[in-house]
Amino acid sequence: MPAPDGGIVFAILAFVIIVSALMVVSLKNIFHCALALVLCLFAVAGVYILLNAEFLAAAQVLIYVGAVAILMIFAVMLTSKLASRKIRQTNENALTAFFVCVIVALSTIVLITKTDVWRLTDKALPADNIATIGKYLMTKFMLPFEVVSVLLLAAMIGAIVLARKEKS
């Protein structure tokens, strides 16, 4: 099997991703989980850069880390009264879910490695990332763009409506 493109960097990033993901799903303190999530997301951004998706990496950091993760932390702080207590975070389905997920992972990997369908190309990606994305957003992906903005609006309104205080 040839070495991955990116070599050692990819290996480190992959390691970080996996470890932090594991921390997300298993840590008892929900706050620690959130922080692990942040780490993970950063590492994923690094992977995007390896894959020549600079704008996406930036967007990832901005949106995910800067907004979503922070939001999560806020929520954590708002909802947990006992943040310091060490309670079990996994429910009774743990063992079964573990097996199932292992099987899913393994099978997917097997599927990937044994397939001969992929025809890898060596064509290079367009050099100017941002410009191209911007161009496509306005032309080819106009509709999804608009829809997404409506979606954002709706989500915003919805969140506000949902979270507002009860009129007693």
Partner: protein, 698 residues
């Protein structure tokens, strides 16, 4: 052969006239009593005249025989006939039956005057006369048997005429059943004759027997069986027990049936079938012995009875025994080749006995009518009170005792003559004659001549009305004079008329003297005991107490029969009834029980198996649901996990591993692991019986 007049040729009309009377009374005249009686008497008088004409005809034809018949049922080699046979015996019988019958019917008008069933009595009497006359003119055994049974039936009806009295009802049943037993033998004899002789016609049967076509043993057996019928009908030992009880019937019935005619049917049968007995000495001696034994037993019982009719009944049995014995001795002697006066002795005595016994009974009825009791110990001194009955009765008593020149003397003398060749028979016959004279005059003295025992009854006694008295007179004349047709050597008309062989009268002079002496001594003893009182009957009774008791209780025959025959039969009938009850009821109950049990089984089946299946499936579904409901935890994560697991499973089931280059075992392993995991998960869920366990609160 001179031409027979139509009177003779149609002599069966004599028996049809009473039948016509019976029919008319039953259908039309029942409600007019006097008319019924008059009609019935008119018919029988007509028959009487006809019979006398027939008798005269037969006499004028010198005892010729006329036979006419019609084949009633005929098939190959055998036929049943209906026909008449008119010979001297028949003519004599016709005359006797119609004479006594007419007398009795006239007498009954007075005797049965106040009876509510007056017309029915005359209907029965007419029916009886039809049967008896038919019996007499029959020309074959089949016909005589039919009329034999008819006579038995009418006797039953007449004995039980006053059926409200239990004793009368019992008596008529006893008569019928006892004679039926004799008839059974008769029937067997008939079958034997029919089988071996191939015919039932008198003439043909006798011809075959005489010519020796039938084996001797069969002849003897057939003869004895035929005699059984006579034993029953004529009340011979051992079937004599019904006749005394038959006195429960009205007195005219006793006079007609049980003295003069029906009981004479047995004697008539033996006389008619003489050829059969002549062919078999053994049968004949049996007949003679039975006759003698019967006569002796009956005479001994009559010595001590107190009921006037019972005395006369036993007297009848005794006299019938005389007749049977005489006929039997004739058969025996003839079988051995000797001469014997027995045949005409028996038939002659039959005739005279019919007259004087009929008279005795009618007279007894007259006496009973006067003093309203049957017991002679309560009577007495009636000679002064009953000026017609008493002399008539005494004439008949003299006749039966055998005092010359009355009828009974001549016939009894013939009978004694028949026993001459058999010393034992002779001695016993003379003893019986002595006893007969004794008991008859005991009766007469106590009833008519002794001082009255019961003053009250004596005061109220009176003579009977004319309709009752005139027949008495008429019969008295006959009782006195009927014997004069049979005086030996001087006027042997009867014997020559009836009998076709040589007439035989041995030692007639000293024989007649002997009988007269015996009769007179019997009367004198009775005179001494009951009129003069020189010998006290009470003291005699006490001295011979056991013998007296034995005789008084009729030799205990009824008790013997009751124990030996009646009780076992009743017990057997009861056993059969209980068996039938148990089996039949058992079957019915068993069926019901089986049905109930079967439906119980079906109910059990229905409840447990059918309902069980239905309920069971419901229960099963409920239990399964109850168990499996815990899979619905309400937790979305749980549901999502399951969906995922099963999706993985489905994907793997469709996994084309060959193309992947994977080993099969990998696939199986993965599938297996997934499956196990899923199942373990499900089972772990099922352990929960309540809410899922709560981990510690947040």
């Amino acid at each position: 052969m001179a031409e027979y007049s139509w009177i003779l040729k149609n002599s069966y009309i004599t028996c049809l006239l009473p039948l016509f009377s019976f029919g008319m009374i039953v259908f039309f005249l029942r409600w007019k009593e006097m008319l019924s009686a008059v009609f019935s008497i008119a018919m029988i008088l007509l028959s009487w005249v006809w019979s006398l004409w027939v008798l005269v005809e037969v006499i004028s034809h010198h005892g010729a025989t006329y036979e006419a018949f019609y084949d009633f049922v005929a098939f190959a080699g055998f036929s049943l006939q209906i026909g008449i046979l008119v010979d001297p015996l028949t003519a004599v019988m016709l005359a006797i039956v119609t004479t006594v019958g007419a007398s009795v019917e006239i007498y009954s008008v007075g005797y049965m005057k106040d009876d509510p069933r007056f017309s029915r009595f005359f209907a029965y009497l007419s029916l009886f006369l039809f049967s008896m006359l038919g019996l007499v003119v029959a020309n074959n055994f089949f016909m005589i048997f039919i009329f034999w049974e008819l006579v038995g039936l009418t006797s039953y009806l007449l004995i039980g005429f006053w059926f409200e009295k239990k004793s009368a009802a019992d008596a008529c049943k006893k008569a019928f059943i006892t004679t039926r037993m004799g008839d059974l033998g008769f029937l067997v004899g008939l079958f034997m004759l029919a089988f071996f002789a191939g015919t039932l016609n008198y003439g043909e049967v006798f011809a075959r027997i005489s010519s020796g076509l039938i084996p001797a043993g069969i002849v003897t057996a057939a003869a004895i069986f035929l005699f059984c019928g006579a034993v029953g009908k004529s009340a011979q030992f051992p079937l004599h027990v019904w006749l005394p009880d038959a006195m429960e019937g009205p007195t005219p019935v006793s006079a007609l049936i049980h003295a003069a005619t029906m009981v004479a049917a047995g004697v008539y049968l033996v006389a008619r079938s003489m050829s059969v007995f002549v062919a078999s000495a053994d049968a004949a001696i049996v007949v003679a012995v039975i006759g003698l034994v019967t006569s002796f037993i009956a005479a001994s019982i009559a010595l001590v009875q107190n009921d006037i009719k019972r005395i006369l009944a036993y007297s009848t049995v005794s006299q019938l025994g005389y007749m049977i014995m005489a006929l039997g001795l004739y058969g025996y002697d003839s079988a051995l080749g000797h001469h014997s006066p027995g045949y005409y002795a028996g038939t002659f005595h039959l005739m005279t006995h019919a007259f004087f016994k009929g008279l005795l009974f009618l007279g007894a009825g007259s006496v009973i009518h006067a003093v309203h009791t049957n017991d002679i110990q309560e009577m007495g001194g009636l000679w002064k009170k009953m000026k017609i009955t008493a002399p008539a009765f005494c004439i008949a008593s003299l006749s039966i005792a055998g005092i010359p020149p009355l009828a009974g003397f001549w016939s009894k003398d013939e009978i004694v003559a028949a026993t001459l060749q058999h010393p034992v028979f002779l001695v016993v016959t003379l003893l019986i004659a002595f006893m007969t004279a004794f008991y008859m005059w005991r009766l007469c003295f106590l009833t008519f001549f002794a001082p009255p025992r019961d003053q009250h009854r004596y005061e109220h006694a009176h003579e009977s009305p004319k309709t009752m008295a005139y027949p008495l007179v008429f019969l008295a004349v006959l009782a006195a004079g009927a014997g004069w047709v049979g005086i030996p050597k001087v006027a042997p008309w009867f014997s020559e008329f009836v009998f076709h062989g040589d007439v035989y009268h041995p030692h007639w002079s000293w024989l007649m003297l002997l009988s007269a002496v015996v009769a007179l001594s019997g009367i004198s003893l009775a005179y001494l005991m009951y009129y003069r009182g020189s010998i006290s009957p009470i003291k005699m009774g006490q001295r011979f107490k056991p013998l007296y008791t034995f005789l008084y209780n009729k030799w205990y025959f009824d008790e013997l029969y009751h124990v030996v025959l009646i009780r076992p039969t009743l017990a057997f009938a009861r056993y059969l009834w209980s068996f039938d009850n148990r089996v039949v009821d058992g079957a019915v109950n068993g069926t019901a029980w089986t049905t109930i049990k079967w439906s119980d089984i079906k109910e059990w089946f229905d409840t447990w198996i059918v309902d069980g299946a239905v309920n069971g499936s419901g229960w099963l579904v409920r239990q399964v649901g109850n168990t499996l409901r815990f899979i619905q935890t309400g937790s979305v994560q749980f549901y999502a996990m399951f969906i995922l697991a099963l999706v993985v499973l489905f994907c793997f089931a469709k996994f084309d591993y060959v193309e992947m280059g994977l080993e099969r075992w990998v696939l199986v392993f993965v599938l297996f692991v997934t499956l196990v995991v899923v199942i373990v998960k499900i089972l772990s869920m099922l352990r929960y019986r309540a809410e899922p366990k709560n981990t510690q609160e947040d």
